[in-house]
């Protein structure tokens, strides 16, 4: 049996849905960040896959994946920094509890 595109796409979709589910349901910001990373990674996989299967010989998809990974790393660092700061201020990383700055 040849392993076609769909075999790769299904796990990626599952991963994405997990990310979405986690993002929506989790209240902890760290968990939400992890969910976000899941979604990003599933997208990265898709990029690499589509490049590999649809446009073999070209490298744009790969580059995009690499870029996204790098950006995700930076973004994670930033987010963690913010979360840490928030935690230091209010001893809480629950998104629903963070309404001091609202209204």
């Amino acid at each position: 049996m040849e392993i076609t595109l769909i075999f790769w796409l299904v796990p990626s979709l599952i991963m994405f849905c997990c990310g979405v589910y986690g993002f929506i349901t989790r209240r902890n910001m760290i968990a939400m960040l992890i969910s976000l990373e899941l979604m990003l990674n599933s997208v990265d996989i898709n990029f690499a896959l589509f490049n590999r299967y649809l446009f073999p010989g070209q490298m744009e998809g790969m580059f995009f994946s690499l870029f996204a990974i790098a950006l995700a790393a930076a973004e994670t660092a930033l987010a963690i920094a913010i979360i840490l700061n928030i935690f230091r201020k209010v001893k809480n990383v629950d998104v629903q509890g963070l309404d001091t700055m609202k209204f």
């Binding site: 979405v20 993002f23 929506i24 349901t25 939400m32 998104v95 629903q96 309404d99 609202k102 209204f103």
Partner: protein, 646 residues
Amino acid sequence: MSPTIPILILAIPLFMFLLLGLLGMKMSHKLAGWLGCLGMGTTLVLAYCTAYTYYFGGDFVGANGERLMSVVFNETWLAFTDKLVISMGFMLDSISALMLVVITTISFLVHLYSLGYMEGEKGFQRYYAFLSLFSFSMLLLVVATNIFQMYIGWELVGASSYLLIGFYYTKHSAVSASKKAFIVTRFADLGFLLGILVLSFTTQTFDFAELCGNPTAQVTAFAGKTFMGCSLLTWALILIFTGGMGKSAMMPLHIWLPDAMEGPTPVSALIHAATMVVAGVYLVARMFPLYLWSFDATTFIVVVGAITAFYAAMVACAQIDIKRVLAFSTISQIAFMMVALGVASEGEGQVCHHGLGYMASMFHMFTHAMFKALLFLGAGALIHAVHSNDYTAMHGLRKFMPVTHITFLIGCLAIAGIPPFSGFFSKDEIMAACYAWHPVIGVWMSVVAGLTAFYMFRLYYLIFWWKEHKIEHGHKPHEAPLPMLIPLVFLAAVSCVAGFIPFGHFVSWNHLPYDIHLDWTIAGISVTIAVVAIVIATVMYRKENPLPAKMKALLPALWDWCYHRFYWDELYMFITHKIIFNGICRPIAWFDRHIIDGTMDAMATITNKASVAIRGLQSGQVQMYVWVYLIGALLLCGLGVMAVIL
């Protein structure tokens, strides 16, 4: 006549006001006082010159021997339209020349008197500045060439009266008295203003020369115009007379005058006895040719005057404060003048009894100015001596203050109408005019004249006789200083001889010279009534006796009402405080704060509430946004799929 002297007559007091008002604080009391006297003295000389030129110069006599009206100068001050123009001018005719003499004489005497009376008072310079302002405004009023100039003078005398009544501004009573005086007269001025508007709008002129020079033309302008059953002319004249009622303290607008006695006594003599309060009489006299055409208006004047005269005389019988007695006596005497003016007219442009009432009114205005100023200045001397306004603090002062005593007695005799003092002659003419108009008015005014004699002598005896003066703390009452005695003696002398002036030669309704004939029957009746009244007063008050107390016990209600001035002040208090203040102003203020402002605030609140209500949507919860996004995206996808399928 060159306009220099008239301009100076107006300009000197104005200049003195500005000088003393702006630089007075830097001057010594003495300098300010003498400057004021000097200024007024100069004005006095100039006014006498002007009056002399007018009456005896011969330039102002017409072809039939009538005295002419002459506009010395008239400069446009404010032009409303081409025809309605306020000018500032100087009109000389028989009554304005008379008033020039009266005002400058009394004003100068008061300036002089105040040197003694106000000595050492705080604000001495300010006092003289206000006196000058008053003299200026009063002169501006009497020489007015048009009704609006008169109104301007009218307002200015009101303001200077306000300032002078409130001269002792640290006293609550003085402040509220000045406020009351201003507001009551302001209310009357509203009537005056409306009257001017009606009159000027119909006749298209403010000018006295046009209004009074040719009254028939003005009356035709009013022809056929009525309002609520009365002709418009009557309305206009009554409204204008309302202004006069306020200034001349006629019922029911008299309430300010007794309270105005809170001012320094010389001020009362000048403003509230001799000059400003007769402005109303002067106004009616000035517009007399028009009043002749409205019998309703003149009847109104007679009725108001007659009621006021009687009322004031009654009240004067029961007052304790000597200045209040004099104030009510002033009200009563001005009412005499008003009645006299009213009874001079028979309507339709016809005069009654040769227009005697007009002459009599002016005559009485002149003599009254002299003897009432005398009485007030005398009262000032008494107050200066005992530092109280109540006769209870006086009694038996004749030994201590002989000059004041004699001059005060002369004043009382003059006002009581005893020959040969001046009041007798002028009052007799008024009586003659009243009897000629209607006997009822004649009898009524005779009764008032009797009351006048009674209350004046009651006052006289209670001040100078009754019982021995009680000397407290070794303060012996002393005779007034010289600057105060000179005016007293001078005025007393005038009061003795003024009756013999052939007044008809100077003032008459049609400006033709006219010989006064004493009507001996009426004179006899008047003198008898006066003498009887004086005798009663003598019996009751010469020596301390229980008769007055018995009388009081006999008619307690009447005494009470008279003592409380028939509760007019309470009535006004009720109307102004309870009805206007609490009934109108407060609800309006409440309405403004709560309804109008409330509506605006409510609009803001509704906006606020609405935004609070919908701000939940903008929760900032990123997870909720994702939900919404997801659902939206799925819906869109669904729609897209369905679109493809269908």
